[in-house]
Amino acid sequence: MGEPAYTVASDSETTGEEKTLPLPEIAIGIDIGTSQCSVAVWNGSQVELLKNKRNQKLMKSFVTFKDESPSGGVTSQFSHEHEMLSGDTIFNMKRLIGRVDTDPVVHASKNLPFLVQTLDIGVRPFIAALVNNVWRSTTPEEVLAMFLVELRLMTESHLKRPIRNVVLTVPVSFSRFQLTRLERACAMAGLHVLRLMPEPTAVALLYGQQQQKASQETMGSGSEKIALIFNMGAGYCDVAVTATAGGVSQIKALAGNTIGGEDLLQNMMRHLIPDSENIFKRHGVEEIKSMALLRVATQDAIHQLSTQTSVQVDVDLGDGVKICKVVDRAEFEEVNKEVFEKCESLIIQCLHDAKVDVEDVNDVIVVGGCSYIPRVKNLVSKICKVTEVYKGINPLEGAVCGAAMEGAVASGIIDPFGNLDLLTIQATPLAIGIRADGNKFVPVIPRNTTMPARKDLLFTTIHDNQTEALILVYEGEGKKAEENHLLGYFKIMGIPTAPKGVPEINVCMDIDAANVLRVLAGVVMPGSRTPAVPVMEVRMPMVDDGHGWCAEALNRTYGATMDLVTLKKA
């Protein structure tokens, strides 16, 4: 094949891409899963999932570093899965991307069979693959980019045209900082992100299309249908409540968390070998091998427990450590009780945020790899009080099909049969606000606000003659500022001298349809109708690695000298 050679750009290179490029092509949909990936595209009449040369629609998400040429799960395959776990293979990139080394998710990744080193100071973790007995450093972005290059080449040879625009599905709980890292990985692979879609909203789009089709066929009135979508993969769990009619899906609420199959797996591994973390601490070649054996055996057992009630785990980890144990389903469910409880509370929270009663939910859609686990299916049906879940969507393909459809819609493709007269009205998964009123997080755009959105809020000074104010922009759900992700900060200067509480500082936040966030801040003195100083407009996020430090450093340097409080105006 005369495929052009694409190389991964350096991580330090800036993207500099504008989102308003003319659209020369149909954007493809990519579902980058923690464990598996897939690509789909609108082929002119329907969505088609693309297969690699081994005829797989779902490809394992990993990159193996062997000698000089790394290879990913699109092109390579192992004769046995253990090989993937010999220290030279990096996976779970989606769990690690955009996280700092104080993040519990990074800590939980330390017993993966490659190197995840943390120094707990709020910088990116050190990640490395073992190549010829040398730990070679890499980053989650770089690994993802290598994988995406393979996906891109596969798609290009399939469609016989260059690929540039993509719609990517993302977990609901991803911070804007993580989203930019993901866009960065795409840029490194030569791909331009047209849209980032929270996974359950991609499923919602597909559901909306199916409902639209059904109502056309039955000449029905197309009355509004409410669906709850529960998506649990290897790395993340997401819930969405959507109201659909006439091809328009309005996302009423989103909820997400970093829990997934990986947690089930790690809990089971700890259950089988309680001090496994100590045994594998040294990360030598032998430890990695044992770790890998335990991982594969546990994974197999969990898979089998989806269809049978008990399973025999029989594995020799070497160095005198052997497991020979019968594990039953009840045991598995007990070990993972907390994970399942978290799933339940996510669903309850999402229904509550959507202001939807369980009785009003028409369809319950359960997707993602974990949807095959009986306990997961049961807990969703139980909370939603249904006996049957929706059958029309393939649990492993729903998200990528929705993404491909969004790709076609966003590329301006028109289908003569009206199959693309679709729209998903998105909502913000996390609140965005600033630090004010002491150390509080004051949301300006609350969670589950319809996008595009523009909201503003008034603040004022806390000191007499305060001429400067620091705007610290955070994203998240924590009540205290530092419990959230810092997206950026800037200073308003030249506030006219006045007693405290007089200057009005208007902080306006704007999210456009491409999910670009801009923060505007202006100062108005009472009685005046024009801003006292030029308005500041800042695109967020602006902080990069080490952002955990920025807030602390600012606090140390400035204390409360430039603080604001919300202005309670009558």
């Binding site: 328009v248 949301p443 609350p446 909201k455 509480g501 704007d510 009472p526 009558a570």
Partner: protein, 174 residues
């Protein structure tokens, strides 16, 4: 989006046209504070232009049902949402239209907010009939309640300046 658009929103929120609405914010929780604050801005904006949420959604203010409001919102979203607008030069405009459309929908699809909005609209239209006068009376009594509660709360925890401003505003009203 540019500085001038913020300027206009700044000056609007600076004007004191709808004190009832703002004081309502303080009684409700933090989250409500923001949504309503924005709505107040929009309301002034729309009524100034001789338009209102009903006109925007092309529904009858007197008897539009929830189903009609939803249907109209959806069909207009399919026309004006920036995702379905493929002319890059129109993106910003369609974003603005959709944000307004959404504000209209959020108010009219919530029975409580719609009722409030209806009475505010009544006030705006120079008390054209008895209904509006009655509405205004309702507003006045609600307003009084809020003033009492606000006084209680402000004496408890607010900075002196904030409460002074509110007192000033109450004087303006009376």
């Amino acid at each position: 989006m540019n500085a001038s658009s913020l300027t206009s929103s700044l000056s609007i929120s600076n004007s004191k046209q709808l004190p009832q609405l703002s004081s309502k914010q303080q009684r409700s929780c933090q989250v409500h504070f923001k949504t309503i604050s924005c709505r107040a801005t929009k309301l002034v904006e729309e009524t100034k232009n001789g338009s209102n949420f009903y006109k925007m959604l092309s529904v009858n203010p007197k008897n539009a049902t929830m189903e009609e409001i939803k249907r109209s919102y959806r069909s207009m979203a399919l026309q004006y949402h920036p995702d379905v607008c493929h002319d890059p030069s129109m993106k910003e405009e369609s974003t603005k239209i959709f944000v307004r459309l959404n504000a209209a929908y959020e108010t009219l699809s919530n029975p409580m907010l719609r009722e409030q909005y209806d009475s505010e609209l009544g006030l705006k239209n120079n008390m054209m009939n008895m209904n509006n006068i009655v509405n205004q009376e309702i507003w006045r009594s609600r307003w009084q309640e809020q003033v009492v509660e606000l006084k209680k709360r402000s004496s408890k925890r607010m900075g002196q300046k904030g409460s002074r401003m509110r007192t000033q505003n109450m004087k303006d009203r009376n």
